[in-house]
């Protein structure tokens, strides 16, 4: 058995969720690591799109920002940002959107705006960026987030981007035709929405993780599926590719000009 960290399991589980024929809108950080790991392992033809306008990009190192030169140089083409949001995202050309956030609730609504009241914030977060429209325009949404009571909360301080809203058919009733969050990948487990209630439900626990651990790191009573699987551990190959990717990236980002 290979030794690995919970964060590595999370990134690898997220990468596995992507398919070779996916067209994926990628955010910076963990989504970018997962999407590129997928591309470097089982999904070599996956189309990765970053909101800076780079279509079908194949970066050798992970970008620190959403518009690093690396993304543009390895892309099929780079379009202006208004075109990115109008033709490609709003136009319905993107199958999977990858999101994260500071807070999530049980219906996978996300907050990346503010902790505390909007007018008197305890912590002012960066804001929505592309998320509000990614959440409704991509065919489906994968969310990757490490679990903890401060981030997996019963009630969001602010809804930046919607998931399944208040559950059931509430998302569809808003006129949204896309699926919304179909997978939530954490450092402990894999969640999928319940078919009826749309509450994010544990369908797989990562190796060695208990139900109590998941509950202790979640701010609402966690639902578990009738059959809870065990996530297959990372393979030696997955770990090797992920670690090499991070090592290359760290070297590139610490070079001074």
């Amino acid at each position: 058995m290979v030794d690995y960290k919970p964060n590595e399991m999370m990134t690898i589980a997220a990468a596995r969720a992507l398919k070779n024929d996916d067209v994926c809108f990628v955010g910076i950080g963990m989504p970018s690591a997962a999407a590129n790991l997928a591309r470097l392992t089982h999904a070599p033809d996956i189309v990765l799109i970053y909101e800076s306008g780079t279509l079908a990009t194949k970066p050798n190192v992970l970008p620190l920002s959403i518009g690093d030169g690396e993304l543009c140089e390895t892309a099929l083409t780079t379009v202006p940002v208004p075109e990115m949001f109008r033709y490609w995202l709003q136009g319905g050309r993107i199958k999977v959107g990858f999101l994260g956030g500071a807070q999530i609730d049980k219906y996978a609504n996300l907050n990346t705006t503010v902790v505390g009241p909007y007018d008197k914030p305890k912590v002012r977060l960066p804001g929505g960026g592309g998320a509000p429209e990614i959440a409704t325009s991509c065919g489906e949404i994968f969310i990757i987030m490490a679990q903890g009571k401060r981030s997996f909360v019963d009630r969001l301080d602010f809804v930046t981007s919607i998931g399944h809203v208040s559950g059931g058919d509430s998302r569809a009733r808003l006129g949204v035709k896309t699926k919304g969050p179909t997978k939530l990948i954490t450092d402990l487990a894999l969640f999928e929405p319940d078919a009826q209630s749309k509450e994010m439900t544990v369908v797989s626990l990562h190796p060695g993780v208990t139900r109590e651990q998941v509950q202790d790191n979640t701010g609402w009573p966690v639902k578990f599926a009738a059959q809870v699987a065990e996530t297959p551990p990372p393979t030696a190959r997955e770990l090797e590719v992920l670690r090499e990717l991070h090592a290359r990236t760290n070297r590139a980002h610490s070079e001074a000009a």
Binding site: G67, A131, T160
Partner: protein, 286 residues
């Protein structure tokens, strides 16, 4: 008609106290040198517009130039918070900062609407979230043909756009390559514009038939500032200095380290410093 100007002349003429200013750049080609000149000239009460306010907006805010920020994502990409932005919002230092917050799609559409001479931008967005509750400028309109409810926000019509680009020619036409962001839209939406460039060339020479070019009659001032986007990047000239973006986190975290850095690196320097920062990479590129 574009004038080839010095940076101090251009900023003095184009950017006035109380103006609404868009210094754009989506990670790439961020006009750092021009913003430093705005700080040195002590502009006040600005409303700044930008999709992705990052280090340079942190500096403008921390130096007290800004009353209001219209934006969609304010952070140090891949690193974390903008500490000066947060200090202004959370503690009112050095002064209160009013926020008008949008999504990227909204901002991009608003620039495009501004460039197109329309009063507002219409798009499918802001469905279900809390943003419309805190931003009264987000409205809904009904499509007269399908009945679909869509989002509408006012077009961006800045007083002045400030951007950085790779090259201008002698006539003041400007060519941009790589990640394009919303710079073309920002210039065409604005009353005035300042463009700093890596190089002013005799002629652009062979180029794509569809090269992105802002004609000289859309620009007021063109200024040669080699390295003017540093620590952001200029495709073909120098790479993004990611290690500086990481260092900024420490510099900006406390007020005194921030002010000391600004004094040494902005107030006591001029635009020619940017050529030094990027000298090695630029020499290899030219």
């Amino acid at each position: 008609m574009a004038r080839i100007s010095s940076l101090s002349e251009a900023i003095k003429d184009a950017v006035r106290d109380g103006d609404t200013v868009a210094l754009e750049g989506f990670t790439h080609l961020i006009p750092h040198a021009a913003a430093h000149e705005i700080i040195r000239q002590g502009r006040k009460r600005l409303t700044l517009i930008r999709m992705t306010p990052d280090l340079i907006y942190d500096q403008l805010i921390g130096m007290g130039c800004v009353d209001r920020l219209i934006f969609s994502w304010g952070g140090n990409p891949g690193v974390g918070s903008l500490h000066r932005l947060r200090d202004a919002v959370e503690n009112g230092w050095p002064q209160k900062l009013e926020l008008e917050e949008h999504s990227h799609a909204a901002m991009a559409n608003a620039y495009e609407a501004g460039a197109a001479g329309l009063p507002c931008a219409i798009f499918r967005g802001y469905i279900g979230g809390d943003m419309p509750k805190v931003n009264p400028k987000i409205k809904r309109v009904i499509c007269p043909f399908t009945g679909e409810e869509l989002a509408a926000i006012p077009a961006h019509r800045p007083d002045v756009a400030v951007i950085h680009a790779q090259r201008a020619d002698k006539a003041g036409n400007v060519m941009i390559e790589g990640v394009l962001g919303v710079q073309k839209e920002a210039v065409l939406a604005s009353k005035r514009s300042v463009v700093t460039v890596e190089q002013i060339v005799e002629d652009f020479g062979p180029r794509s038939l569809n090269a992105v070019i802002l004609p000289h009659w859309t620009i007021q001032h063109v200024v040669a500032v080699p390295g003017g986007a540093f620590p952001s990047y200029a495709q073909g000239y120098y790479a993004r200095n990611n290690s500086f973006y990481k260092k900024w986190d420490d510099i900006a975290r406390e007020r005194d380290t921030f002010l000391a850095w600004m004094k040494t690196n902005v107030l006591e320097k001029g635009p020619e410093a940017f050529a030094q920062y990027t000298r090695k990479q630029r020499a290899a590129a030219e």
